[in-house]
């Protein structure tokens, strides 16, 4: 029998706010354990949560760019469970009345076609702290993450494979990064994903029983876990068994999923309305204000670039993956660099450097302003491409200012008088090579130009040297 896989997503995105969701504590990764905490986020007796506007504004931006229907009134509920990294004994979430319904994620089907994954809802909730368990049995608890704002994005189960699931998560990540809602670093855990997987015979109408794979934290684990879980479920059914509804954990090293808890053991969270918080009221004005604050969206930028800059389609796509990359590229153009060379330099040099340095363009030490000076010098033939690249490398290696480096670089010699002297000397020193060329073997011309470059200590303009040489041979 042929089987279809059906996949749905629950994406947890940590919002990139300055403060936490219900207190003014800094939301900062990498701080000393238990240093960014206050009575509110640790659930001190008597402390009350106060919803921070920043988190709501951030959530509104996410809902706008995913095309959701933002609810005028929503509210928070308490999700009750005991765990040491949840000091209040409940998590403040939106269960009954989430702030956003519907919406969709654009993604690419396995057959290459463009599609959208419909969303059920997005809700806001607070994160829990972090537990780490050591080998000697000690457990340590860090409450810094407590009450950090999260979005939970829940999709319909309409994907057909792990690669489609990964494509969706990539797409959400790009969008949320684009509008500065989420940093999107899966390895740092600020974007996490649960995947629901079920299988059904190809001609069936009803969905099979699903298993939920928890806390997948890389694209590889999303892709592979769906493949492995699909195979497992098919094995169970073809072996005469039944798939049970359960939560499973993915082991990336062993490439297996293992049961964590069945439906019967699933906790009863006893959701009820959070009495300490008033309803969340999002007005049309609030939405307008956020949509007015949104940067140019990727699709709009793509269209504009194709029209204004005449970029080939294949060049545009990689430039759209992060908004800040495109912003840098655009700054080069604003500084007077020709669009084609800006694109070449960015895709060739800058992306390579960012990769090697493992850093983001936001912290790249060379400003678009000074790089533009170098590119323009190349465009105007004042320095060679090789020199331009060397200058960039030198600036990155030594930390010296690129503009200063450029100013102390000798420009290429283009003057025919000076070039003629070097050419004449090389021609007279290398009669053999000159004779070969005269005899029809043109290969030696490169050698002769190289000799001129050497003699001029790299100052000669190679194209002009070659032209002169041909004229004189």
């Amino acid at each position: 029998m042929s089987w279809n896989t059906v996949v749905g997503l629950e994406i947890h995105a940590q919002m990139a706010t300055q403060s936490k969701m219900f207190c003014a504590c800094r939301r900062q990764a990498g701080a000393l354990p238990n240093s960014n905490i206050c009575p509110v986020c640790v659930g001190w007796p008597g402390a009350l949560p106060v919803l921070q506007g920043e988190a709501v504004r951030c959530a509104i931006r996410a809902a706008i760019c995913l095309g959701c229907d933002i609810q005028e009134l929503s509210r928070f509920d308490r999700k009750n469970y005991f765990y040491p990294d949840l000091p209040k004994g409940y998590q403040i979430s939106q269960f009954y009345h989430p702030y956003a319904l519907g919406g969709s994620i654009p993604f690419t089907r396995d057959d290459g076609s463009a599609a959208v994954l419909p969303l059920v809802r997005i809700h806001m909730e607070e994160d829990a702290g972090k537990s780490s368990h050591e080998e000697d049995g000690t457990s340590r608890i860090d409450l810094n993450r407590c009450s950090s704002p999260l979005l939970e994005i829940v999709s319909e189960p309409l994907l057909m494979s792990g690669t489609e699931a990964a494509s969706c998560v990539r797409s959400v990540r790009a969008l949320l990064r684009w509008v500065s809602v989420c940093d999107g670093d899966m390895e740092k855990g600020n974007l996490r994903c649960d995947v629901n997987v079920s299988v059904m015979p190809e001609d069936a109408v009803e969905l099979g029983t699903r298993a939920e794979l928890k806390n997948l934290n890389s694209f590889v684990s999303i892709e592979r876990s769906v493949v492995v879980e699909t195979a497992r479920q098919i094995d169970v059914i073809e072996g005469g068994g039944q798939v049970v509804q359960e939560t499973r954990l993915w082991d990336q090293d062993k490439e297996v999923t293992a049961s964590m808890r069945g439906k019967e053991d699933s906790p009863d969270y006893r959701y009820f309305p959070e009495p300490d918080l008033p309803v969340v009221w999002i007005t049309e004005d609030d939405i307008q204000q956020q949509s007015g604050n949104l940067p140019e969206m990727p699709e709009d930028r793509r269209q504009r670039w194709l029209n204004e800059y005449d970029f080939p389609e294949r060049e545009v796509v990689p430039l759209l993956s992060r908004r800040e990359n495109g912003d840098y590229l655009e700054s080069l153009i604003l500084e007077g660099v020709k669009p084609a060379s800006a694109s070449n330099w960015f895709r060739g040099e800058i992306l390579k450097q960012l990769n090697e340095r493992e850093e983001r363009i936001e912290v790249f030490p060379v400003t678009a302003q000074s790089l533009a000076l170098v590119i323009k010098a190349v465009e105007e033939d004042r320095i060679s491409v090789a020199t331009g690249k060397e200058l960039l490398q030198k600036s990155l290696d030594t930390g010296s200012d690129l503009k200063t480096l450029l100013e102390s670089t000798d420009e290429q010699v283009q003057d025919e008088g000076a070039l003629g002297e070097w050419v004449d000397q090389v021609l007279s020193d290398n009669e053999d090579a000159v004779n070969k060329i005269r005899g029809g073997d043109d290969r030696a011309i490169g050698f002769l130009v190289g000799q001129v470059m050497k003699l001029s200590k790299g100052q000669a303009h190679p194209k002009k040297v070659q032209d002169l040489m041909r004229a004189r041979i």
């Binding site: 009575p39 640790v42 659930g43 001190w44 007796p45 008597g46 402390a47 009350l48 949560p49 106060v50 919803l51 308490r78 009750n80 005991f82 040491p84 000091p87 209040k88 004994g89 409940y90 049995g137 608890i141 009863d268 006893r270 959701y271 009820f272 009495p275 300490d276 918080l277 008033p278």
Partner: protein, 489 residues
């Protein structure tokens, strides 16, 4: 200049506003006043079990500072020099805040609740912490980890609860404001039992930040004092929006006019209400009618379900609010290598029987499969009660009924029968469910000499109108002025 004026202390039953005038006229210093009040707390207060901690040193220092301010002619607060206490479930920087529970034994909050900050800013001086039922769950003050509190009018009887300590202090002696909390009657019922005046403000009018939560949608901090005017001055200080409590805001009065038309709640005088209570409150009605107050009978049929509704909502919220006392971060830990075991043994040993019972009830009514039948139903009944009250209040300015269905009972009489104890709340929970303000005042004494109280409920925001009505009553009737024999030091 002030002489050594110990001989000119105010009367034991004097109100705070009388004491303010007393201090203002220089008849005694704040230090003399405070030291005499501390003496009352150390003797009568402790004998009744009403006060748990007395902050003598800091209170005397603050009194001296207040005297110095007065001498220097500096600006003075509206409660300058007046002693105040906070219930054991209201956080104070000084001392412990254990909600009268072994679970929180020795717990130091380290910060003042907003209400405590506001009292201090108004010049009032924190003198101690009053006992209460464990986590404010009770109507007899018999479940406090600090022992039973006794009624100042009859030491063999309960003072009511859960703000029993505050009410016992306010009933026994004047001069002070006592901060209590009211989730289902916890200010009004003990006020009635101890012949004090107490009020539950409109929900949201007074910040709850710093109150150890019981049932958050019902909890409200309010004052207990000698008379309505004291409560009015205190409420002026306590009320207002607090950036640290998202549910707090300021409320306009529905009208500036004094209350002239009162709804007589039929259900407040029906089955289960002792005849002697009914008679005393009816007599009060006649007195008010003679003064020209108009009475009309109103019926609130859904009130019959109020107590059941309250028990579901209050316990549901409590089960969640008290989850944080798990022995991990806050609360007495019984260590174990097994996490489940650590939770269950810490919570089983830390909480008393009544608190455990309510956590279990609350957990049950929110459980999958039962939540609709219990919590969901209770929420709709709550909505009906609220609508019924508000609709009744469209025709009248206030609603009136007794506070407690019966007089203060003997210590031990009801403690083994939870249902008999829950019956204490039948007339008080309605105001909490509707979120409306309610004021309890001494009405009279029954033929055994035990205090009888009555209460008025008003529209949301009509707190001060109710207190004005209470002041009118206290001009017409001087029951509130009585101080128990031997009540004072």
């Amino acid at each position: 200049m002030v002489n050594d004026a110990a001989s000119s202390l105010p009367d034991p039953g004097a109100t705070s506003h009388e004491v303010l005038a007393h201090l203002q006229s220089g008849k005694c210093t704040t230090k003399t006043l405070i030291s005499e009040y501390l003496n009352f707390l150390e003797t009568t207060g402790k004998r009744l079990g009403a006060v748990v901690e007395v902050f003598s040193q800091s209170a005397l220092q603050e009194a001296e500072a207040s005297d110095a301010r007065r001498m220097a002619g500096e600006a003075l607060g509206v409660l300058e020099g007046i002693p105040f206490t906070a219930k054991m479930n209201i956080c104070t920087e000084e001392g412990t805040t254990d909600a009268s529970s072994a679970m929180l034994a020795g717990f130091e909050a380290g910060v003042d609740a907003t209400v405590v900050q506001k009292m201090r800013s108004a010049g009032a001086i924190l003198v101690g912490k009053s006992s209460c039922d464990e986590f404010a769950m009770g109507a007899s003050n018999e479940s406090s980890a600090h022992g039973v509190v006794r009624n100042p009018w009859d030491a063999s009887r309960v003072p009511g609860g859960s703000s029993g300590g505050a009410a016992a202090l306010a009933g026994a002696f004047g001069w002070a404001i006592h901060l209590g909390s009211d989730t289902g009657g916890s200010i009004r019922q003990p006020a009635a039992f101890c012949s004090a005046t107490g009020m539950k403000p409109t929900w949201g009018r007074v910040s709850r930040r710093g109150l150890i939560a019981f049932g958050s949608s019902l909890d409200q901090i309010g004052p207990l004092a000698r008379d309505a005017k004291d409560c009015q001055i205190a409420l002026e200080v306590l009320q207002g929006s607090d950036p640290l409590d998202a549910t707090s805001h300021s409320f306009p009065e529905s009208s500036k006019e004094p209350i002239r038309k009162i709804g007589w709640i039929r259900q407040g005088f029906g089955e289960g209400i002792d005849a002697s209570i009914r008679e005393q409150v009816e007599a009060a009605r006649s007195i008010l009618e003679k003064d020209g107050i108009e009475f009309v009978e109103v019926s609130l049929p859904t009130m019959a379900q109020a107590n059941a509704c309250y028990q579901v909502i209050a316990t549901a919220e409590a089960s969640s609010n008290l989850a944080r006392y798990d022995g991990i971060h806050v609360g007495k830990r019984k260590d174990s290598n097994d996490l489940e075991e650590l939770y269950s043994s810490s919570r089983s040993s830390g909480f008393g029987a009544e608190v455990r019972r309510r956590i279990l009830l609350g957990t049950f009514v929110l459980s999958s499969g039962y939540i609709d039948a219990y919590y969901g139903r209770a929420q709709s009944v709550r909505q009906e009660i609220r609508e019924e009250i508000l609709s009744a209040l469209e025709d009248v300015d206030a609603l009136m009924m007794p506070v407690s269905p019966f007089a203060p009972f003997k210590i031990g009489e009801r403690i083994d029968d939870p249902l008999a104890l829950y019956a204490c709340d039948i007339l008080t929970v309605t105001a909490n469910l509707a979120g409306v303000p309610a004021v309890a005042v001494p009405c009279s004494f029954d033929n055994e000499g035990l205090p009888v109280g009555m209460q008025w409920l008003g529209k949301h925001g009509d707190d001060h109108r109710l207190l004005q009505l209470a002041s009118l009553w206290q001009e017409l009737n001087d029951t509130w002025k009585s101080v128990p024999q031997g009540g004072q030091s």
